[in-house]
């Protein structure tokens, strides 16, 4: 029995040398001790095995981790080494702690010479000073920084750099350092600067083009004025029958040419963004009556009915740009009549809605004309385009009208809509938001006045008018009309002469060309107003000008000019205008 005991127990029993009797007595105890010793050995052996196995595993795992760390850092350094841009790490004091090889390519400094040194030793401004304030390292209240600047490199040259930096935070929220990138943006900067320059050049070229167009159109209008005026005069002088046809053609062609020049001027103004909309009280009735009087005869000649319908709730006055509205309507109605051989052209104005300060109106211009094919509907709104190339030959027109209408409506926050069927007709429509006006309608008075005066050429008989005009042809034209209307007139060939004549004589009205040698129309008008003659303070002074821009209109008041009469003028219109001016003068 004892021989099977654990050797430690056997050794202990041998040493203590007990009697057999006692041994028998304590046999159960010895048995337990033996079991415990053996179990203990077994456990120990087990623990040793576990320790050994675990050590092996930990060693292997550690090895694997090391390998993967090596392979990852190898990959990373390969990536960092092949990137064109600089990648860096920086410690809390702003010293480089890592720079990839791109740093040397960018700056020329060796990476090992830079590590541990502050960044600003290597980033210098145009004066060679350190970029010390690039990062506020003392109180870094940022997460990321991104800056572009010019920096000197080792050769003394400059590079444009895009410098970005990010804070590295530790798990407990403290700043451990910084990581970032530097990108050479010199090429981009160069391109950017070149683009800016090119853009400036282009815009200057555009401006020159616009100016050229404006000037040229303006220059064309002055002689055109003479051509139109003279053709009117010739027609009034009882021409022979065979001359009549030639003269009519001359008149129509010159009017068409004027229309084309006006369209080009307008289009150019819109395209260059120079067009300013007027905000004035106006009578819609007056606009519509004007429309009717312009097209009444044309429609009658073609045996087409021209109908203008108005919503009964339509107010008489609004605030807006009546000139432009009139231009749009004239264009659309002119087109409608032009392309309609039989049937009718209808203008319909409806109130769509009333808001606190605005009316929303819909204008519809419908005709029973040739119509526009589906595939041409978009094309007709393009400049210098008509549905068919032979349309121009057959119907005339500049091809600018619809483009201008569309652009004008776009400026007014509206849109020109078209519905059309070939052989049935076309319908153009647009909606306009027009401000409410508190003004009373004055249109009826004007109408009665017009009706009375238009056929009575005695209205201007004996009126004293001073005309300041330097252009010989224009002088000739205006002389002819004024003589015909039996006006007592004087011609001044420049502003200074006009001023002197105004000082010496008493006139009922002064017509003042604006661009004249010696003294221009503005200065002359101002001088006349400032002169001692008390009559000159109230005398109507009207500018005669081919320039119609808002800027000129706005300037007139400053120089004491009462209004503007556009050149080239329609003789009938001129007569009406002069009559009305004089009439108002007498009323006052």
């Amino acid at each position: 029995m004892i021989n099977n005991y654990h050797r430690l127990l056997k050794r202990q029993l041998k040493k203590i040398d007990l009697d057999d009797g006692i041994l028998d007595l304590i046999a159960p105890l010895l048995h337990q001790v033996d079991e415990a010793y053996k179990a203990y050995d077994c456990d120990l052996e087990q623990v040793e095995n576990v320790l050994e196995k675990s050590s092996q595993e930990l060693f292997q795992t550690n090895q694997q981790l090391k390998n993967s760390v090596e392979s990852i850092s190898g990959q990373l350094s390969k990536v960092a080494g092949n990137i064109k841009d600089v990648i860096f790490e920086m410690d809390l004091n702003g010293n480089w702690s890592y720079l990839n090889p791109a740093w040397r390519k960018l700056t020329g400094y060796k990476v090992k010479d830079c590590l541990g040194k502050p960044y600003y030793q290597f980033l210098k401004d145009e004066h060679g000073n350190d970029y010390k304030n690039l990062i506020d390292l003392k109180t870094p209240n940022f997460k990321t920084i991104s800056k572009s600047f010019k920096s000197q490199i080792i050769t003394g040259e400059y590079n444009w750099l895009d410098f970005s930096l990010k804070v590295i935070m530790s798990e407990d929220g403290n700043i451990e350092g910084y990581i970032g990138a530097i990108v050479d943006i010199s090429k981009i900067k160069e391109t950017e600067l070149a683009l800016i320059e090119a853009k400036e050049k282009e815009s200057m070229a555009n401006k020159a083009k616009d100016e050229f167009l404006t000037t040229m159109s303006h220059e064309i209008r002055t002689p055109l004025n003479a051509v139109i005026g003279i053709s009117h005069l010739l027609l009034l002088e009882n021409p022979k029958l065979e001359q009549l046809e030639n003269l009519s053609t001359l008149k129509h062609s010159s009017e068409h040419l004027l229309c084309l020049v006006n369209d080009i001027l307008d289009f150019n103004k819109i395209a260059s963004g120079q067009l300013e909309l007027e905000e004035r009280d106006f009578s819609l009735n007056q606009v519509l009556n004007g429309l009717r009087s312009i097209f009444h005869n044309t429609a009658k000649e073609k045996d087409i009915r021209l109908l203008i319908k108005k919503d009964t709730s339509l107010p008489k006055t609004f605030i807006g740009d009546s000139t432009r509205l009139s231009q749009i309507l004239t264009n659309l109605v002119s087109n409608a009549i032009k392309f309609t051989e039989e049937g009718k052209v209808m203008v319909d104005i409806e109130v769509l809605g009333v808001e606190e300060d605005f009316y929303v109106l819909e204008f519809v211009i419908a005709d029973t004309g040739i119509g526009i094919p589906e595939d041409k509907k978009d094309k007709i709104f393009l400049s210098f385009a008509q549905a068919n190339s032979d349309t121009t030959r057959k119907y005339g027109g500049t091809g600018l009208g619809l483009a201008i209408c569309k652009r004008l409506l776009e400026i007014m926050d509206s849109d020109l809509k078209l519905e059309s069927q070939v052989g049935i007709g076309s319908t153009f429509s647009f909606k306009l938001k027009l401000q409410k006006s508190s003004m009373m309608d004055y249109q009826e008075d004007m109408d009665t006045f017009d009706a009375k005066s238009i056929h009575d050429q005695d209205n201007l008989k004996g009126a004293r008018i001073l005309v300041a005009e330097d252009n010989k042809v224009n002088i000739m034209v205006i002389e002819k009309f004024l003589s015909k209307w039996q006006v007592d007139f004087d011609i001044a060939e420049n502003g200074l002469i006009a001023l002197n004549m105004a000082m010496e004589n008493t006139y009922d009205m002064i017509l003042m060309d604006l661009q004249m040698p010696v003294m221009n129309g503005f200065e002359a008008s101002k001088a006349i107003r400032d002169s001692n003659n008390p009559l000159n303070k109230v005398i109507p002074i009207y500018a005669l000008s081919a320039s119609t821009g808002m800027d000129i209109k706005n300037q007139l008041g400053e120089y004491g000019i009462d209004g503007l009469i556009c050149k080239p003028f329609n003789p009938t219109e001129l007569f009406k205008t002069l009559t009305s001016i004089l009439q108002q003068k007498y009323i006052q």
Partner: protein
């Protein structure tokens, strides 16, 4: 609550029961090596016709401060106000589906004033984790569940449960306790340490583990057992795994039930889901005893009432580690509770309880799980 305890060493001890009350229930924790268990049970049932019997086979019986072998630890209890009901489910009739078996038991015991379920199950063919899931699947969260899986020394051959007047394998028996007067305490603590690297479960099905980190699990496991590998699955009790997955934020311990040499797999007493992480565990006797003490403290503090009866269900693996010192953990528990408490229980193949009163009920291994009743 009236309690009577007796250590049954022989069949004849039945005649010496000195009961001065008629108990509601006998708790019987029986050693597989006790001779005549079936006879004892049927005689006891006949003698106390109106008393319920519930119990199971053990890997060691606990009675008072003693850890016993080859006995039946008998505890007779008469509750003053708490009502009881015992129900059983045959695992074969549930096609061995432990989840369904758990659900079936809960359904049978469900009632408006059900407070607690004390469950004892066959320890070998049941999947304890599934059983627990099934038990509280349709149950109100206020009903607590504790219990354990039957043991058979450490042979892993045949376990049984006692229900009514019968002793049977492949069954689950459960005691439902009803009424507001019952106060229940419980806790479960281990005291084992995990060691070595964390391993990913790369292949498993329910409670069968095939691969760890892509390596055959059995091979790896055996290498750590060394010489003791030849004593598997019994020696596996010394080497449980600590497992954490998404369901278990606190790692749970999983003990081996069996091994399959053919396909190199290990079968555990609870599920080892694929994608979970496991670490090997080792025991330290002092810390195991400390764990039992901690478990007692938690159970004691889980209710303010004076604890009257405590069931200690401890893992067979702990017993194998502690060997001659096994009673130390029972004594440690009893020291926490003091003298006025009756203690019984057994060494099991799996413990069922929440970690504490704030956790859901789960299956444990290698723990000391304590349930206390008072009213």
């Amino acid at each position: 609550m009236k309690i009577y305890q007796h250590k049954i060493l022989h069949l004849e001890d039945l005649d010496h029961l000195d009961l001065d009350f008629v108990p509601d229930v006998f708790f019987l924790f029986a050693s597989p090596t006790f001779i005549g268990t079936e006879e004892f049970v049927s005689k006891l049932a006949r003698k106390f016709e109106n008393t319920n019997l519930i119990g199971c086979s053990t890997a060691g019986e606990i009675l008072g401060n003693e850890v016993l072998d080859s006995t039946i630890a008998l505890t007779a209890v008469k509750f003053e106000k708490t009502k009881l009901r015992i129900e059983e489910v045959d695992l074969i009739s549930c096609s061995l589906d432990s989840f369904e078996a758990g659900k079936a038991i809960s359904a049978k015991l469900k009632g408006p004033d059900l407070r607690h379920i004390f469950v004892l199950s066959d320890g070998l063919i049941v999947n304890g984790a599934e059983l627990v899931k099934g038990l509280h699947a349709d149950l109100d969260k206020s009903v607590s569940i504790t219990g354990g899986l039957a043991g058979d020394c450490s042979n892993f051959e045949n376990t049984f449960v006692i229900s009514g007047n019968k002793v049977a394998s492949k069954k689950i028996v459960a005691l439902g306790l009803y009424g507001p007067e019952l106060s229940i305490g419980f806790a479960s603590k281990g005291g084992w340490d995990s060691f070595g690297i964390e391993r990913l479960v790369t292949k498993s099905t329910n409670n069968v583990l095939y691969e760890l980190d892509g390596q055959p699990a059995l091979e790896l496991y055996k290498s750590f057992l060394g010489d003791m590998a030849k004593d598997l699955p019994g020696s596996g009790l010394l080497f449980p795994l600590s497992m954490r997955d998404e369901d278990n934020q606190i790692p749970v311990v999983r003990t081996i039930l069996s091994v399959d040499e053919k396909n190199g797999s290990l079968t555990f007493a609870g599920n080892i889901p694929q994608g979970s992480y496991v670490r090997l565990m080792k025991a330290n006797i002092d810390r195991i005893i400390g764990g039992a003490e901690q478990s007692a403290i938690t159970a004691k503090n889980s209710t303010d009432d004076q604890h009257q009866l405590a069931f200690l269900i401890s893992c067979v693996g702990r017993r194998l580690v502690m060997k001659q010192l096994v009673e130390e953990e029972v004594e440690a528990v009893n020291e926490v509770f003091g003298n006025d408490i009756y203690t019984t229980g057994f060494y099991s193949y799996g413990e069922i309880a929440p970690f504490d009163k704030f956790s859901p009920c789960t299956l444990h291994n290698q723990t000391m799980t304590i349930t206390t009743f008072s009213e």
